[in-house]
Structure formats: C-alpha cells, structure tokens
C-alpha cells in the first residue's frame, strides 16, 4: 500500500484516501480489501489472491481491480 494512503474500515468494506493526490477510493469487496492489506507480505500477487481465498477463475478480474488501485496510487507495484 502507498505510504500516503489511509484506510478506514466500513460496513461495506473500506475507504482509502490518498493524502498526496487527494483521491478517495471505495473498496467494497472483502477479499479485495484483504489482498490490499496483505499484498506486501507475499512475494507475488497470485500468492496474495490465493491466501485471500479468491478462486483461480476470478484472479483475472481481481488483477484488473488491483491494476486500477495501482493507477489510483492506492497500491504501489513492486517487482
């Protein structure tokens, strides 16, 4: 997660606010939220998706969502 992002839990998931670009992002999927929280603990994103309980056939959709979070600078891609 980007160091300038604050995460606030909500009944629908979470709100992510970026203090640098001042964008607010809604995370309304529990498993996506888990991946956002834990991605840094895994070597690659697939491991994080598996650990969060995302079925393999849904990985592609989650990767698109994660890509959008990278675009919004909520997440920082690492290689």
């Amino acid at each position: 997660m980007h160091p300038q992002v604050g995460l606030r839990e909500e009944r629908f998931g979470a709100l992510a606010y970026h203090y640098g670009n001042r964008r607010l992002t809604f995370l309304n999927d529990e498993r996506l939220l888990t991946v956002v929280r834990t991605a840094a603990d895994y070597d690659d994103v697939t491991e994080a998706l598996v650990a969060a309980g995302v079925p393999a056939e849904q990985h592609a959709g989650y990767l698109v969502a994660l890509g959008r979070l990278v675009d919004a600078e909520v997440l920082v891609a690492s290689h």
Binding site: Q4, G6, R8, E10, R11, F12, L15, Y17, Y19, G20, R22, L24, F26, N28, D29, L32, G61, Y62, A65
Partner: protein, 380 residues
C-alpha cells in the same frame, strides 16, 4: 468483481460511522461581504469555539479517522489561532483543505502551505475578470485573490484549487476560468449557487437560467477533470451522470460544524431545522454524528414524493435539500432548478420561505485590500 453487490451509493445513503469529510467553519468573521454568502458572515461571534475546543474536535476527528476537513468561514485565516490549528490537524493526520479569499496568503504563508501534503487550499473567485468578480465579492477582491494565486504558484504549490460559484453572470466565462486557473498551475472547482444565507436574497437574479444549466452540463461532461464537489448532481437528469457520487450526502457522508460548534446536516442548511446538535454537547461531535435524531432520520430511505412518477428520479434523486428548503419547496418534491422545469412550476405554488435572519452580516459594505507592508504578515 461480483455484480450482485448493492451499489456503493445505496450503502452510503444509509450513513457511515464517521463522515467522509466535513466542512468546518471556524469563524463568522470576514473581511469581505459576498452577496451570496452561504453563512451570512461578517462579524465574529463571541461564542466561537476556543482554541482548546478546536483541538478537542480535531482529536475526535482523528479518532473517527475522518481523512480531511474542509475549513472555511467566514474567512478562516482571520482567527489568530488558524495556523496553530492547521499544524495540529497535520500532526493528528487529519488533512485540511481550507477556503480563503486570499487576503492573508502572504509569501511566507504560501511557502508554509506548500511544504506539506496534508494541506490544500482553495481560493474563491466569482468572475474571470475583476468587474464580474467584484460585483459579487466586493471592490478589490479579484486582485487580492489573483495575487494569492501567484504567491502559491511562486511557492511551488501545484494543483491548489480555484473555487467558483456558478451564476447567471459568470456561467459564460467557464473557458476563461479554466484558462486563468491553468495559468497558475491550479485546478478549477465549480459549485452551485444555493439560496442559503445571503444567497437567498440574490438567488432569483443570479441562479443560472434553464438554458445556462444545459450549457453548464455539456461543459462539465466535456471537462471531467474540473472538480464540482458533487454540486451539480441535479443536472445528471439531462443525460449521463456527472463524475462523483451523485447523492445528497447531508448527514450521511458529510456535515457541517459551525463557528460556535453547532453541527448541521450540510454546509448549505444553516437553519435550526437542520441543526443536529453541538460539539459542546455531552458525547461531543461523535455522538451527534452517530446518534442525533436528525441524522438518523436523514439516513432512512427517503420517499420520492412528487418526483416518484418522473423517469429521471434515479439520476437526480430530487436534487438538493437545501435549495428546496430555502425556496419554500417541499423536501420530497422537485429541486427549484429541476432540469425538466418541475421546479419552476412548484415555485409558483410554494408556501412561505423559512425565516432567515441577517446572521452575522455587517450592516455596512466592507472593502478589502491586501497589506504589503514588510513584516505585516500572518503568524507563520
């Protein structure tokens, strides 16, 4: 993502444990006397929150994880403890965006604002030239505002905001506003004229005409990067939805704290009927937000009322509660600026408008000038 989830706006309309952001007016004191002032500002109120009380509110906001506050007034920088409060917010990780007429943005203040990510600033103008602007905001105010913009640009502050209330007289200047804003490396923000505060006195003459609303909508669709604070969601009934939540957030995701600590449903309804409580009450802001009877009722699913048979209700949600209230329209009917003309018809049948006093307005016009004396600066 699975498509069966409720829409995010449906979840938000039921309210959150803490606001997404809130407006906090620090003082009713102002060195301008804009004809459309939402809060009828002018004179300071002797009951304004003390510095210690302000800090207490920041502590609550930090505990509730409110990401940022929109600080305004009046002119918030007139409070002697303004910069101290700003520092306290930043230390507490509560971001600040403050609105100012620019009169206290010295070069030193501009440098200070530019030095942290946690502070954003918005300079208000209401015309793209001095004549149009000063007719609304007072003689000299355009020069003061553009000087402040130059100082922020010189300090290296990119993407500060320039905020414009769209009126019948300036709606033809949208391209000019954008060009002006871009000259300073800033971002344009357009907001809606509300018949609130002194705005009630000028709304009939200044609110955009139906044709102007259509032009404004088309312009906003063409310029999705222009910020609106979700101001114009009533225009979404003209076609595709404008960017934003397109939802009345009053008491659900936003609210207002006024200079004496009273909490209202939104910045546009400073009226006893929409006062939820006070930060000075037992339990403070947190309990007002979470359990006041007003906010609880605003979070209940509303009725479409007279708008139920209109095919656009999903798009516009009946428009703005404050605009209806202050023009004497029922809250479960059309917005006075309904794009289908239902508002105009309703206005002809409207009952008496609510009583609105002069608030904190000054009795005589004021003139603003930018002080340039060496050493005469804010406490930065």
């Amino acid at each position: 993502m699975p498509a069966t989830k409720p829409r995010i706006t449906d979840r938000l309309s039921l309210g959150l444990d803490a606001p997404i952001c809130l407006t906090w007016e620090l003082t009713y004191g102002c060195n301008l006397a804009c004809v459309h002032c939402l809060s009828s500002s002018g004179r300071r109120d002797p009951r304004e929150l003390t510095t210690a009380e302000l800090f207490g509110v920041v502590d609550e906001l930090a505990a509730m994880q409110v990401f940022y506050v929109n600080i305004g007034g009046g002119e918030p920088t007139l409070r002697p403890d303004f910069w101290e409060l700003l520092d306290y917010c930043v230390e507490s990780k509560v971001g600040v965006k403050f609105s100012t007429n620019g009169s206290r943005i010295t070069p030193a203040a501009a440098a200070r604002i530019a030095s942290t990510d946690y502070v954003d600033v918005q300079i208000s103008i209401d015309g793209a030239d001095a004549a149009t602007n000063d007719a609304v905001r007072g003689p000299g105010s355009f020069g003061v505002a553009t000087t402040a913009m130059q100082r922020l640009a010189d300090a290296g502050f990119a993407d500060f905001k320039v905020s414009v209330v769209v009126t019948r007289d300036n709606v033809g200047q949208l391209d000019d506003f954008l060009a002006l804003t871009q000259r300073y490396g800033a971002q344009l923000r357009l907001t809606r004229l509300r018949p609130s505060g002194r705005g009630a006195d000028v709304w009939d003459e200044l609110h955009p005409t139906a044709d102007q609303q259509r032009e404004l909508y088309a312009w906003l669709v063409d310029h999705p990067r222009v910020l609106t604070g979700d101001s114009f969601f009533h225009l979404s009934a003209l076609g595709e939805a404008l960017p934003g939540l397109n939802l009345c957030g009053a008491g659900r995701v936003v609210c207002l704290i006024d200079p004496v600590g009273d909490v209202y449903a939104c910045p546009f309804v400073l009226h006893e009927q929409f006062r939820a409580g006070s930060v000075r009450d037992e339990g403070g802001f947190t309990s007002v937000w979470r359990s006041s009877s007003l906010f609880t009722s605003l979070r209940e699913p509303g009725s479409a009322g007279a708008c139920a048979s209109c095919g656009s209700y999903d798009a516009c949600q009946g428009g703005c509660m404050a605009a209806k209230f202050f023009t004497g329209l029922p809250l479960d009917g059309p917005d006075p600026e309904c794009v289908h003309g239902h508002g105009e018809a309703a206005l002809l049948r409207a009952t008496a408008k609510p009583e609105v006093g002069p608030g904190h307005s000054r009795r005589a016009p004021v003139f603003v000038s930018l002080s340039r004396r060496a050493g005469d600066s804010v406490n930065v």
